[in-house]
């Protein structure tokens, strides 16, 4: 019996392994050749691209900005995602499904369309600027394109739908009976949050937060469109290095640095899950 099922696994595994290993091997190897510009590369293996990355302040600054905007976006996304996840998880009516459906649809729509909407909302004569101007909070129209705030908002739109679904699966693991029990024993609602809900959800927040941070680190579209060429993150830099400077090896080395950072964060969150699980803090 068992051998029969194992045979099912072999062909798809070979195809996937070829695709994964083949594509990754080629670009990683390319990153070790010197870039001669215009798509030409040297023939000797060298670390020159990496030395340049880690000594040039331009690349280091881009790396730092990527980490900074991703971290801010991940935290804000968790902050906005949690109430929806909590309310929907505790809701008993069928309305909960409709609310979740709204989230799912928003994850289906391509981020380019959402960025269109953001640009209209934040445009010089858009809703936000008009309101702020009328209230006298700002003196002239403020543009989010080309600012780090804009990139953060874009990254949040890229991840928030996914984060709500993720946090929802965390909140469902905390049975409402625990909340009732705490209240019967005299805990106020604030205390229920402090001592029951937040501690039990915390491991999920940590792991989910790392996953969202990872998505932000690798996010290209929203960062490219809202950065407007003035705020660069690593994914944007990869694309620009290929398309505008035609430097494949340099781009490959940047992409490899990005890949390694993302994999390290993943390993870290995997270890975090194991630790938390063995400490019996996570049910799922």
């Amino acid at each position: 019996m068992e051998n029969r099922w194992f045979a099912y696994l072999i062909p798809p595994f070979i195809v996937t392994l070829l695709l994964v290993a083949g594509s990754q091997f080629v670009f990683i190897q390319n990153s070790f050749y010197q870039d001669l510009g215009l798509g030409r590369t040297g023939t000797d293996l060298t670390l020159v691209n990496y030395i340049k990355f880690f000594t040039d302040s331009f690349y280091l600054k881009t790396f730092w900005i990527t980490i900074k905007v991703s971290a801010i976006a991940a935290l804000l996304t968790l902050f906005l995602g949690f109430p929806i996840a909590y309310v929907v998880a505790r809701m008993k009516s069928r309305l909960a499904m409709f609310l979740l459906a709204g989230i799912v649809v928003s994850t289906f729509v391509t981020i380019v369309i959402k960025v269109f909407g953001l640009i209209i909302i934040f445009s010089a004569d858009g809703v936000i600027n008009k309101t702020l101007l009328n209230l006298g909070l700002i003196e002239r129209a403020y543009s989010i394109i080309g600012t780090q705030e804009g990139v953060v908002i874009g990254l949040m739109h890229f991840t928030i739908g996914f984060s709500v679904l993720l946090l929802y699966s965390v909140v469902v693991t905390v049975p409402p009976s625990l909340e009732y029990a705490a209240q019967i024993h005299g805990a106020s609602r604030l205390r229920v949050y402090q001592r029951v809900i937040i501690p039990l959800c915390a491991p999920g927040f940590v792991v989910g937060g790392l996953m969202i941070f990872n998505m932000c680190m690798g996010a290209f579209t929203s960062a490219a469109l809202l950065g407007g060429g003035r705020v660069l993150t690593l994914p944007v830099l990869v694309q620009r290095t290929v398309m505008m400077e035609v430097k494949y090896s340099t781009a490959a080395s940047i992409a490899f640095v990005l890949l390694v950072s993302v994999i390290l964060i993943n390993l870290f969150s995997l270890i975090a899950i194991r630790r938390l699980r063995s400490a019996r803090l996570v049910v799922a």
């Binding site: 068992e2 029969r4 099922w5 194992f6 099912y8 696994l9 072999i10 062909p11 798809p12 595994f13 996937t16 695709l19 083949g22 594509s23 080629v26 670009f27 109430p83 909590y86 499904m97 979740l100 709204g102 799912v104 928003s106 994850t107 289906f108 729509v109 391509t110 380019v112 369309i113 959402k114 960025v115 269109f116 953001l118 209209i120 909302i121 809703v127 739109h157 928030i160 709500v164 679904l165 993720l166 699966s169 009732y180 609602r189 998505m215 680190m217 690798g218 290209f220 579209t221 990869v238 694309q239 494949y248 781009a251 490959a252 992409a255 490899f256 990005l258 890949l259 993302v262 993943n266």
Partner: protein, 277 residues
Amino acid sequence: MQTWTEKIILFIWCGFSYVFLLSPMVVVMGASLHGGEFSAAIKFPPDEPSFQWYSKIPSEQFEALALSLLVAAVATFIAALIAIPAALGLVRSNFKAKFAITSVFRAPLQIPAIVSGIAFLQLYYLIFDTSGLMLAGTIPGMLLGHVFIATPFLFGTIVAVLQRFDYRLEEASYSLGAGRWRTLYRVTLPTIMPGIYSGGLYAFMVSFADVPMSIFLTAPGFVTYPVELFYAMENDFDPSILASSSIVIVFCLAMLLVVQKVVGLETLLRSGGGSAR
């Protein structure tokens, strides 16, 4: 058991999150109804609502949309052909390296799409250098990249469904005289079908929405819809692009309704296309 203050705080907090989440799409649909004269004027709320821009959508956008639909549909189909046997084989056999094999199938999700994009582009250049066959800017080249990013979604949902599978159903089928293939087609596959549908929906949508992978694999006259939008946005755009975007938003909504009819929203959420990441 919640107090009123808490309910009010949660309501406002949630409301704010929903406005943040949904407003860009509402605004795009609203602004597409702009009826004024000036093509450069993109306004929300629109001045004199009309559908004039819907008849002015240029043909390139329809061609891009058609290409995106074709690529997403075929890529999802191929991804299913890879993911179904893979998930069956993985869940049902016993061996030590399961974790390593699962990681390979899930790897495309861990790799940032932009990295996969440049990786496939360089792979295609290498193939071109050695065999003279250029895959970048062709349908097979585009498909290969999209199969790569779509497969993990199907794999994840089917594995999730299989782990809850009741083996007695298959035993009943065998004991009633059905053979292996008959059992597979009449019992096993129909039972995991909800997982295939919901995983397929996620896979289709991820492929349909992709920019970072496709942007490297396009060529002049061979552009997927999100990439077409991406380039339009870097230049000036007029409300016709908002009109076609609105059509896409409605299409996404329709896809969800279809899946709701076929497998139900609960299954879609439970089988966790979200958690497949």
